[in-house]
């Protein structure tokens, strides 16, 4: 009895390293062995480049949104692409974590594609709820981005020994509920992970956060616990989400959760407004709330450096 208590206390100590970091402009977060700390980007760039690769997460472009919070979402997406071209390490590829468009219109997908093709490297997408609003939900999205995916668009791929998994948690949502993965996708994920060694670094990306940030605003996923259960044997797991249009991070054991900024408009911090609708900020400050996330993997050091850059240039010169 007491041994059992001791054991569970030990587990608790090992796994209580949890922190929630609220968005702040110009912060640079680096993960070393799963423990976050701030680090200037100059130092991140100085890491041995021959054993690293980086990729960039873009999220919540909302092409087609034209309300006062940001009347020119195409312009800010263009700025995001331009800012990516100034990064010290050229990204090997890109992840777009959904809400590419605002209303799933063909013209909105066209406009987004026109800008994103300038990136000059592959983009792996997962849909946001705004990308599956067509009459036959998700058909337009899948026609464009569904190649090599299963079901509603979930997929996995490998890059330099890192296993990437794109999950879809925005379709078939139930009244009163949160984001939803569904039994089919979870069965697929279990089979996908099965052959992997526990030392394989894992990166999971999905639109709605896979951890409970603020269920009152729908900021969580009903069945994410089943995914985390499947991932708990792995030594390095990074979960990248969008949807909430602000940076939030939590580290729980070997799992790092991180949400990216939007390239379109900010949303309020949980519970600080009447609703999670677009947050209006003075035009001069808008770009300090928008941005992209640059992730660098360095082999042999179990290190994924997650660096958030704003469109105002913050995060690049600290």
């Amino acid at each position: 009895m007491s041994a059992q208590n001791d054991d569970s206390a030990g587990v608790t100590r090992r796994h209580t390293l949890e922190c929630m970091l609220w968005a702040g402009t110009g912060m640079v977060w680096t993960l070393v062995g799963g423990v976050p700390g701030s680090m200037p980007l100059a130092k991140a760039a100085a890491l041995n480049p021959s054993k690293t690769f980086s990729f960039v997460q873009i999220s919540d472009s909302h092409v087609g949104f034209d309300k006062p919070a940001n009347p020119d979402t195409l312009g800010t997406l263009r700025e995001a692409v331009a800012s990516i071209k100034t990064l010290p390490t050229k990204p090997a590829f890109f992840l777009h974590t959904g809400d590419i468009t605002h209303l799933s219109k063909e013209s909105q997908f066209d406009d987004a594609d026109q800008i994103l093709k300038e990136l000059g490297a592959p983009v792996f997408y997962v849909p946001g709820e705004h990308d599956v609003l067509d009459d036959n939900p998700g058909q337009s999205y899948l026609a464009r981005y569904g190649k090599g995916t299963s079901g509603a668009g979930w997929r996995s791929f490998d890059h330099e020994g890192v296993h990437f998994i794109g999950c879809v948690n925005v379709v078939d949502l139930k009244a009163g509920g949160l984001g939803n993965l569904g039994a089919d996708q979870i069965a697929w994920l279990a089979a996908d992970l099965k052959p992997l060694s526990s030392s394989t670094p894992i990166v999971v990306f999905a639109h709605i956060p896979l951890w409970s940030i603020y269920p009152e605003w729908g900021w969580g996923t009903e069945d994410s616990a089943r995914v985390l259960d499947l991932l708990k044997r792995f030594g390095s797991v990074t979960v990248l989400n969008g949807h909430i249009h602000q940076v939030m991070q939590k580290v729980e054991g070997a799992v790092t959760f991180h949400t990216a900024r939007s390239t379109a408009f900010p949303q309020p911090a949980p519970g600080t407004a009447a609703s999670p609708g677009p947050m209006k900020v003075p035009p001069g400050l808008l770009r300090t709330f928008l941005g992209i996330t640059d992730v660098t993997f360095q082999r042999g050091e179990d290190r994924l450096a997650v660096v958030d850059h704003t469109l105002a240039g913050e995060g690049t010169s600290k």
Binding site: H102, S104, H130, A175, G176, E216, W217, A274, S275
Partner: protein, 124 residues
């Protein structure tokens, strides 16, 4: 805006009071107003701040209900039993249905499923 449900609640309270002839007269007037509202008056439900207002509405069969999106983000209106389903409603877009069959209809926004509402259709 006065909703039929508000009036019927008041009517019940009034009946219980069971007072003067003047009050009874008022009662009859409200009953008449209530039934005319139920049969003829279309109902508007506003969608704002990720909330349906009123969140629950009781109407007579044949009532036309219109949802208006006052929010600066799109929403949908989807009955859980499939009775009605709107397209994505952008700001100021509307969706109208006429409710004929008595029953309770729970609906939600398929983009933001925490947003739910209910329509009760019953003869007055």
């Amino acid at each position: 805006m006065i909703q039929p449900s508000d009036i019927s609640a008041w009517r019940i309270r009034h009946k219980q009071a069971n007072t003067s002839p003047a009050a009874s007269c008022l009662s009859v007037a409200i009953l008449l107003m209530s039934s005319s509202l139920c049969f003829a008056q279309p109902v508007t439900i506003h969608v704002d701040n990720f909330t349906f207002t009123p969140v629950e509405t009781t109407v007579a069969p044949g009532t036309t209900i219109t949802w208006v999106n006052d929010d600066d983000i799109p929403h949908t209106v989807v009955a859980t039993d499939g009775t009605f389903k709107s397209k994505a409603l952008d700001t100021e877009d509307q969706f109208t249905v006429t409710m004929t069959e008595p029953g309770e209809y729970v609906y939600f926004c398929s983009l933001h499923p925490r947003m739910t509402g209910k329509i009760i259709v019953k003869a007055p």
